[in-house]
């Protein structure tokens, strides 16, 4: 009798405990900086809440500039979201505070096969800490109305820079005073980033060996910068002091502009009447292989913060596994971000193929390279960002590169790049 009572009590406690555990309420806090992406997530979160009544989401959108400060102070003060939208530019700073995606929940081997650059761009000491979502690169956007008015068709999309310059000249319009009214090609505002792609095409790299220095002032770098210089000062397809690439495109003052693929979303949102098209970067010989023809970067997904409670981590990873297995979600997010899916099995999806923008990236992406981390200063204030100003204000190409290189190297002396994968690029054979 006594043993039956004890057994009964134990069974009751076990069942009761399991029921309690199963129904334990979990609220997952999530932060993102991008409202359109959050809108998609909210739809899937509502679906997940319906399937898992014990899970609720508490979401917040914080502007990009404040986002990292908030996350940093959250780490310092112990107040972080369970799930944080992540960007790989912050890898070096935050990696130690992100929980590794558990190998028993996420299929590492499958990702290695399916996801472009997975090992180079995502694995740190054999684990990954933010989910691969999309990949973007530099493209050429064009004003489709001007294109048509100039008598150009799809067949005229240039494959080489020589052809490209001729089309840029054709699209350039001057006013009666000889000033440029519509620039045939606008690299203004993004010239350094554009130069780097040309540099890659000519066999150059961003970094020297081990990323201890940058490697810009060399014959390939000079040739690349001189091409841009001749476009502006000889062919006059743009000029010093012209509008930036995005404003020029949006306001109808550009025939073509270089930009990363996010510009597509900006044009649609801010200039809905603009009729624009896009194509992959031309090259010096017209071919993409063996590459690289440009730099790429990944639009990463969400991370789980290391300092949150274990049950929240478990619930967060379970949600992320559910979400990222949903190809509809991945397609929707890539479409809204203007990125090609990192998962190569999704590149043939009809929704991706139907998007000219993403088709253009998808065509180019296999021939692009990810260098690893680029410190903010090297990309902007004291490096690539200086090239335009130096070129525009009279520095010969070699001097401009030498000056920007010296500035960038002084940054790298202080801030060593730990995540360096540029040399992992494998030339592609078509």
């Amino acid at each position: 009798m006594k043993s039956r009572f004890v057994t009964g009590t134990l069974v009751f406690m076990l069942v009761f405990g399991m029921t309690l555990a199963a129904s334990a309420e979990v609220t997952l806090r999530h932060w993102d900086w991008h409202q359109p992406r959050m809108n998609i997530k909210l739809k899937y979160m509502a679906e997940y809440e319906a399937l898992n009544p014990n899970v609720t989401f508490d979401t917040q959108v914080i502007g990009w500039d404040d986002y990292w400060t908030r996350l940093m102070s959250g780490v310092a003060g112990g107040d972080v979201p369970d799930i944080a939208q992540f960007h790989n530019s912050q890898t070096q700073a935050f990696l130690n505070h992100l929980e590794a995606f558990p190998a028993d929940v996420f299929d590492y081997d499958r990702y290695k096969e399916e996801i472009i650059n997975f090992e180079a761009a995502y694995l740190f000491d054999g684990t990954f800490h933010f989910y691969p979502v999309g990949i973007m690169s530099g493209l050429i956007f064009y004003n489709a109305d001007y294109w048509e008015a100039a008598g150009l068709t799809e067949a005229d999309i240039p494959k080489t820079w020589d052809d490209f310059v001729e089309i840029a000249k054709l699209l350039t319009k001057y006013d009666s005073a000889g000033d440029i009214q519509v620039a045939g090609f606008v690299p203004n505002g993004i010239l350094g980033v554009f130069w780097l792609d040309l540099h890659y095409q000519l066999g150059g790299t961003l970094y020297g060996e081990g990323a201890k220095t940058v490697a810009w002032n060399n014959p390939a770098g000079i040739q690349a910068l001189e091409l841009i210089e001749s476009m502006i000062f000889e062919d006059r397809v743009s000029e010093v002091g012209f509008l930036g690439f995005n404003e020029a495109m949006g306001t109808g003052h550009a025939g073509m502009a270089y930009s990363w693929s996010w510009l597509g979303g900006e044009l649609d949102n801010n200039y809905p009447d603009l009729n624009w098209g896009v194509f992959r970067l031309p090259t010096f010989d017209g071919k993409l292989a063996p590459g690289p023809v440009a730099r790429n970067n990944h639009e990463t997904g969400m991370s789980v913060m290391r300092s949150v409670r274990q049950e929240n981590k478990d619930a967060a990873f379970e949600f992320l596994r559910w979400l990222y297995e949903d190809t509809d979600y991945l397609i929707e997010v890539n479409l809204v971000l203007g990125t090609a899916p990192s998962n190569r099995t999704l590149l043939d999806d009809p929704r991706i193929a139907a998007s000219p923008l993403i088709s253009a990236i998808a065509e180019q992406v296999p021939y692009t390279n990810i260098p690893g981390e680029i410190p903010h200063e090297v990309e902007n204030d004291y490096g690539l960002g200086m090239l335009q100003d130096l070129l525009f204000f009279g520095y010969p190409a070699a001097d401009a590169l030498a000056t920007a290189e010296a500035e960038a190297n002084s940054v790298l002396m202080e801030r060593a790049v730990k995540w360096y994968v540029e040399d992992l690029y494998t030339p592609v054979t078509d």
Binding site: W68, M72, A76, V240, L243, H253
Partner: protein, 295 residues
């Protein structure tokens, strides 16, 4: 004696003073004093808030001396502060003299010149950025009417800082004018009447009456103008020029702290700026305390 009994023992007037002061002091302690002490503490550490701090002694201060970007940003800041205080002050003083003589429509005029002060610094920066746009901006279009060629304004390292300074002077002048007007209203009219009887010209009245009697106003504007000028951030951040030609000290400090996560170094920069401002302020006090005018 318990705390309540002690408080009761204080007379009512003092209790009122305490009741008013304590919240402000608590606020000041938590949001100013303690953060300042903590900033001083972290200026001796390498700290990014993401990893434990490590003590580096005076390293952060020593490295400031080798930082060419810091020197450049300091030069930019000094140019900005000096220009806005002196050129801006001169314009504001001239306008204040003119406005002071206006009898009708003074209220409407006040609204006009004070409007830029009420406008967001960022909005002002964006609008001036458009006015300054070399190819399509309004300013160059106006200059073209007079046969003047295209100016690069914010797009050239040579003209970017003066352009940003001009926009900042325009934006802040309304406040300075108000302070000058307050000072002008405090000067007894009888002094001017007496000067007129003596046959003084307008310029002589300004030189011999207005300027000497506005000395406290000048001192106030000089000191607050320099302090504000050295702390400039928004205007130069929004109206940025090429090759770091408009990168001020606070912008560099902000970037070090919140883009590079070099909190210790940024804190050391903050204390360097503090030392500069205190020194300048003391010098200004010393200079202006000579030859006081009383009336």
């Amino acid at each position: 004696m318990s705390l309540i009994e002690r408080i009761k023992a204080i007379d009512a007037k003092k209790r009122f003073v305490l009741a008013v002061l304590v919240p402000a002091m608590v606020f000041f302690a938590f949001f100013s004093f303690i953060p300042i002490i903590y900033a001083f503490f972290i200026s001796f550490h390498e700290l990014d808030f993401l990893n434990p701090p490590s003590f580096v002694g005076l390293d952060n201060y020593m490295r400031l001396g080798d930082d060419t970007h810091l020197f450049n940003s300091l030069v930019v800041t000094v140019k900005f502060a000096v220009s806005t205080v002196f050129i801006g002050g001169l314009f504001a003083f001239s306008f204040a003299l003119l406005i002071n003589s206006v009898k009708r429509g003074a209220a409407a005029l006040r609204t006009v010149y004070f409007l830029p002060v009420m406008t967001s610094l960022v909005a002002v920066g964006v609008i001036w950025g458009w006015l300054y746009q070399p190819r399509f901006g309004l300013l160059n279009e106006v200059l073209k009417l007079f046969g003047i060629g295209r100016q690069m304004w914010l797009s050239s390292p040579a003209t970017a800082l003066p352009s940003a300074i001009a926009a900042s002077i325009w934006q802040g002048m309304g406040f300075t004018i108000v302070i000058f007007l307050a000072g002008l209203h405090g000067i007894p009219q009888s002094y001017y009447e007496a000067a007129e009887v003596d046959g003084a010209s307008s310029l002589q009245k300004v030189w011999n009456i207005t300027i000497p009697l506005l000395r406290p106003t000048f001192v106030y504007l000089l000191i607050t103008g320099f302090i504000g000028g050295f702390q400039v951030f928004d205007q130069l951040y929004v109206m940025s020029g090429p090759l770091n030609s408009t990168r001020g000290f606070i912008e560099l400090l902000y970037t070090r702290a919140f883009s590079y996560y070099q909190m210790g170094r940024a804190a050391a920069m903050a204390f360097l700026l503090f030392a500069i401002i205190v020194t300048l302020t003391l010098i200004q006090f010393r200079l202006v305390s000579r030859g006081k005018v009383e009336h």
